[in-house]
Every structure is written in structure tokens, then in C-alpha cells.
């Protein structure tokens, strides 16, 4: 762990897709054990920033550190060298990610989805992985769905399997990319409960979400983004009750 207790540190992160500049210098940090929620209109760059954290997108400028290690690059003096594929994979193995569209492996049942990465990437023995997977699936309330294939599960159940799958790698940081946006309203609660439980257990989390209630209740820190920049940041209750910036006020007035 880094001496200053920061799990995530971003310094002037820029990202462009062709001519379109999506991130225009993002600087922020997340302390170990904290839950950071990111709000903002669609197209504001929140999801892109999240994907940069585990190098699914390559940043064009700036620095991103997870637990003190540069993401995707090695610094030698003033120069940056891109890491080899296997080194990037090793970094990613320590960062869990949950996607808006779940992205479970449809040809594997819930248990196989969860044990796949521990067995293949970390070389965990199958028996140990199965034991851990059963515990994790129980923790997200799916003890009875171990043998079910994704197509046989509801969206909320799939997303909870996805959370268990990410946790099976014992990550030090969890990224959530709009985890409830593709769910029917009545299924959102179970997923948020699982995430709340995770936060209480001390997991460091970065959550891109539209669930204002979750941000207020669980978040330690809230970041409001718009058009590729951080507009406002602070304690969720503070920002949500008394937004300082006009853009934040305008956005909140529409969603609250």
C-alpha cells in the first residue's frame, strides 16, 4: 500500500478518440477503503475514465496510479514505456470491474464464471476456487443459482454473479460502470445491497452511477463530471444538498 493511503491517483488524465477529446485533464484521488461515486450527464467521460483505470483504454497524457503503480506504463526517468501484455494483465488482475451489460460468459454456469479467472490467471486449485466461489455467490444471495447459466438468470442475478466473479480475484480496487442502468427498477435494489455490503467490508470502490440515493448513502466522496472535466467534488451529502457550480445545479435539478 502506498504510504499516503491513496488507492487511486489521477493526474491530468487526457483521452481522445480521434479528434474528439473525451477527457480533458482529470485530476483526483481515492483513499484506500473509500467509495467514490461519479455522476454526470451521458457523454461526460465518466465511463471512459473508469475504463482508463484498468487500461481498457490507453490515456493520451497524464498519469494514473493504482496503489502507487503506474497503470499500463513503466516510467524510466522522464520517459514512459508501455507495459507488455502479460504485465498489463497482471495489473488488471488486481482491479475488479463490473459492467453495465454484465458481460457474463454465456457458455459457463454461474460457478464456472466465478472460478475461471482464479484458476486460469492466479493458478488457484480448482477445489479451493470452488469453495471460494460458493461463499461469494452466497454472499451476493445466489447460493441456489450456482448451476444456472446466465440466460437462465434475471438481469439483477446476472449482475450479482458478475460482482462475485470480480471479487473472486480478490481485487484491491473495484470499478463499477453503471452497474444498475440496464436493470428493471425492481431488480436494482438487490445489486445495490450487494455493493453496499461490499463498501461496508472496506472495499475501495469507484462507482459510475445514476443512483443518487446510493451515492448519498454509501459514497465517501462524489465527483461531478461534465464534458471531460471534473466540475465539482466533495462529500456526497454536501455536493447534493448545496452544489456550488451552476452545471452541477442544472444536472441535479433534472435528476433529483
Amino acid at each position: 500500500m502506498e504510504a499516503n493511503g491513496l488507492m487511486l491517483r489521477a493526474e491530468g488524465v487526457h483521452k481522445s478518440f480521434g479528434r474528439l477529446e473525451v477527457l480533458k485533464g482529470i485530476t483526483l484521488s481515492v483513499k484506500t477503503g473509500e467509495v467514490m461515486c461519479m455522476l454526470g450527464p451521458s457523454g461526460s467521460g465518466k465511463s471512459t475514465f473508469l475504463r482508463c483505470i484498468n487500461h481498457l483504454e490507453k490515456i493520451n497524457a497524464g498519469r494514473l496510479y493504482v496503489d502507487g503503480d503506474l497503470v499500463g506504463y513503466r516510467q524510466d526517468g522522464d520517459k514512459l514505456y508501455e507495459l507488455r501484455e502479460s504485465e498489463v494483465a497482471r495489473e488488471r488482475a488486481q482491479i475488479g470491474m463490473v459492467f453495465q451489460r454484465f458481460n457474463l460468459f454465456p457458455h459457463m454456469n454461474a460457478l464456472q464464471n466465478v472460478i475461471e479467472a482464479p484458476c486460469r490467471v492466479k493458478g488457484v486449485k480448482r477445489e479451493a476456487a470452488v469453495k471460494q466461489a460458493r461463499e461469494l455467490l452466497e454472499r451476493v444471495g445466489l447460493a441456489d443459482k450456482i448451476d444456472a447459466y446466465p440466460a437462465q438468470l434475471s438481469g439483477g442475478q446476472q449482475q450479482r454473479v458478475a460482482i462475485a466473479r470480480a471479487l473472486a480475484m480478490e481485487p484491491k480496487l473495484m470499478l463499477f460502470d453503471e452497474p444498475t442502468s440496464a436493470l428493471d427498477p425492481e431488480l436494482v435494489g438487490d445489486v445495490l445491497d450487494a455493493m453496499r455490503q461490499l463498501a461496508q467490508d472496506g472495499m475501495t470502490m469507484v462507482v459510475v452511477t445514476h443512483e443518487i440515493g446510493f451515492a448519498r448513502e454509501v459514497g465517501d466522496c462524489l465527483v461531478f463530471m461534465d464534458e471531460g472535466v471534473v466540475v465539482e467534488t466533495g462529500h456526497p451529502r454536501e455536493v447534493l444538498a448545496n452544489p456550488k457550480e451552476e452545471r452541477t445545479k442544472a444536472f441535479l435539478s433534472k435528476v433529483l
Binding site: A89, R92, A93, I95, F99, P106, M108, V121, A151, M169
Partner: protein, 284 residues
């Protein structure tokens, strides 16, 4: 339509120029059976070479490395752009002319471990296998590539986010899902390959077709012997079609769409409950 078919079948059955008796005599002739075996071996091995090559070429084609990508493109360009008959002739004839002596050992003046006449080393069977297999690789590459592309991008990302490497992701996550798209055209390729193997008769490999050719060259019973070959080809293409159907069902697991009933189940349904919803009609 049915009437027309009946008339044709009736005329074939009753026209004694077809010499069905002779067909029966030669159907299980040992020379024919040896030809059948060669044809099957060539089909299986060529497809094996083609599928392995196809997967490798397809993964190369989707590599981030432009050099690797280019190599795959060049291979497909060449082997798909020339007739397979030409490629078989090339391996069968030209090799022995271009490299009459083949040595196995350390190149550039090292000790020679083994050497021999190319005609012996590369037997005609292997030449036929190379011609068919290397050509098939180019076609299979495109089939596999289409399968890989059909898998949702989110699957790559999910696997990557768990720390899996590109190769692990391909092998464990993407290819098993791509199978559903890859299998049907591969079945077609196999059936097509069974018949394409007959081209090796041009380099005197005694496959099924060449075996019957050798027999009718001696006894002039051309039509009945060609019918013998046709019957065997039909028999195996039928078996392959049935096999393909069951393999497709196997790889359709985990998809939300229901599986079609098996032929046996459909027969049962038709006999007992007549719940079949197929519209009939056929080809008319």
C-alpha cells in the same frame, strides 16, 4: 414434383443399362473399399490441417501486430486466390522437380541427418493432403474469423478485466462462443472436402474415385462403377449432415433460443401427438 422424381427413379431402376447388378458386385469390392478408406483419411486429415491452420490464421489476422496480421492476410490471399487443383498438382509434381533432394539436418553445410529422394519422402498421399489442407486453411481462417467477430466485444473486455491474456481469452472465452457461428459452415466445408478429395486422382492417389476409374479402365463398366462411387459419397455426406446437426445442438447450449427437436424426437411427435408445426411443402 414428387411425380417427376418418381418417374426418374423408376426409369433409373428399370433401365438395365445402369447395370444395378454390377453396382452390387463392386460396391464392397476390396479395391473400392481401400479407395473409400483413403478418401475418408484424406477428408479427416485435410480438415484437421485446415481447422488448425484456420484458427491460427484467424487469430493472427485479428492480432494488434501489423506484421502478424499481414502474414495471415498474405497466406489467405495466395491460397484462396489459386485453384485447389493447381495446388494439388503443385505439391504432387512440382515439389519433386524443384527440390529433387531433401535433406534433414543442420542447414548451411551442417551434418546431414537424413536425406532421400523427394518423391519418396513426400509421398503422393501427403502431397494430396498438403494441397487440400493448406487450401482449406485459408477458407477456414475466414470462417473462424467471422465466428470470432460475432462474439460481443464485452466478452473480450470482461476477460481482460479479470487479468486474462489475449490467448487465454481466445481459447477459454471467445472461441467456445464463436463455435456456434463456426460449426455450420465447417460442416459444409467437411462435406465439400469429402467430394473435393476426388481431385487427388490427378496425382494418382487411389482415393475412391481413382479406384473405380482404375477398375473401369480395365473392364469398361464405366457407369455402374461411377454409381458405386456416387453411392459411397452420398452415404458419407448423409452421415456427416446428421453429425453436424447434433454438434450444432451441443454448441447452442447457453443461448436463450430454444433448441429445435432432434429428428428422432420429431418422428415420435409426428407419430404420437402430431404436434409438428413444419409447414410441409418441400421444394415445390
Amino acid at each position: 414434383m414428387l411425380l417427376l422424381a418418381a418417374v426418374v427413379i423408376y426409369s433409373m431402376a428399370t433401365n438395365n443399362r445402369f447395370q444395378w447388378g454390377v453396382v452390387g458386385d463392386y460396391l464392397f469390392d476390396p479395391r473400392v473399399l481401400r479407395g473409400v478408406r483413403t478418401t475418408l483419411e484424406l477428408t479427416v486429415l485435410s480438415m484437421a490441417v485446415g481447422i488448425v491452420l484456420g484458427v491460427i490464421l484467424a487469430v493472427m489476422r485479428l492480432s494488434p501486430n501489423p506484421l502478424v496480421r499481414g502474414a495471415s492476410w498474405l497466406y489467405i490471399w495466395f491460397f484462396r486466390g489459386t485453384p485447389v487443383l493447381l495446388q494439388i498438382l503443385f505439391w504432387g509434381i512440382a515439389i519433386s522437380a524443384l527440390y529433387p533432394k531433401i535433406s534433414i539436418g543442420i542447414p548451411f553445410g551442417g551434418p546431414v541427418l537424413a536425406s532421400g529422394n523427394a518423391n519418396h519422402l513426400i509421398t503422393l498421399f501427403v502431397a494430396g493432403l498438403l494441397g487440400l489442407g493448406l487450401n482449406e486453411g485459408a477458407y477456414m481462417a475466414e470462417i473462424v474469423r467471422a465466428g470470432i467477430i460475432s462474439v460481443d466485444e464485452g466478452q473480450h473486455e470482461a476477460a481482460a478485466s479479470l487479468g486474462m491474456t489475449r490467448i487465454q481469452t481466445m481459447r477459454r472465452i471467445v472461441l467456445p462462443q464463436a463455435m456456434r457461428v463456426i460449426i455450420p459452415p465447417t460442416g459444409n466445408e467437411t462435406i465439400s472436402m469429402l467430394k473435393t478429395t476426388s481431385l487427388v486422382s490427378v496425382i494418382a492417389v487411389t482415393d475412391l474415385l481413382y479406384a473405380v476409374q482404375l477398375i473401369y479402365a480395365a473392364n469398361f463398366k464405366t457407369i455402374p462403377l461411377l454409381l458405386v462411387a456416387a453411392i459411397w459419397y452420398l452415404f458419407f455426406t448423409t452421415i456427416l449432415s446428421i453429425g453436424q446437426y447434433y454438434i450444432e445442438r451441443h454448441y447452442a447450449r447457453g443461448t436463450s433460443r430454444g433448441l429445435p427437436p432432434t429428428a428422432a424426437a420429431r418422428l415420435r411427435m409426428g407419430l404420437l401427438g402430431r404436434r409438428d408445426e413444419s409447414g410441409g411443402g418441400g421444394l415445390g
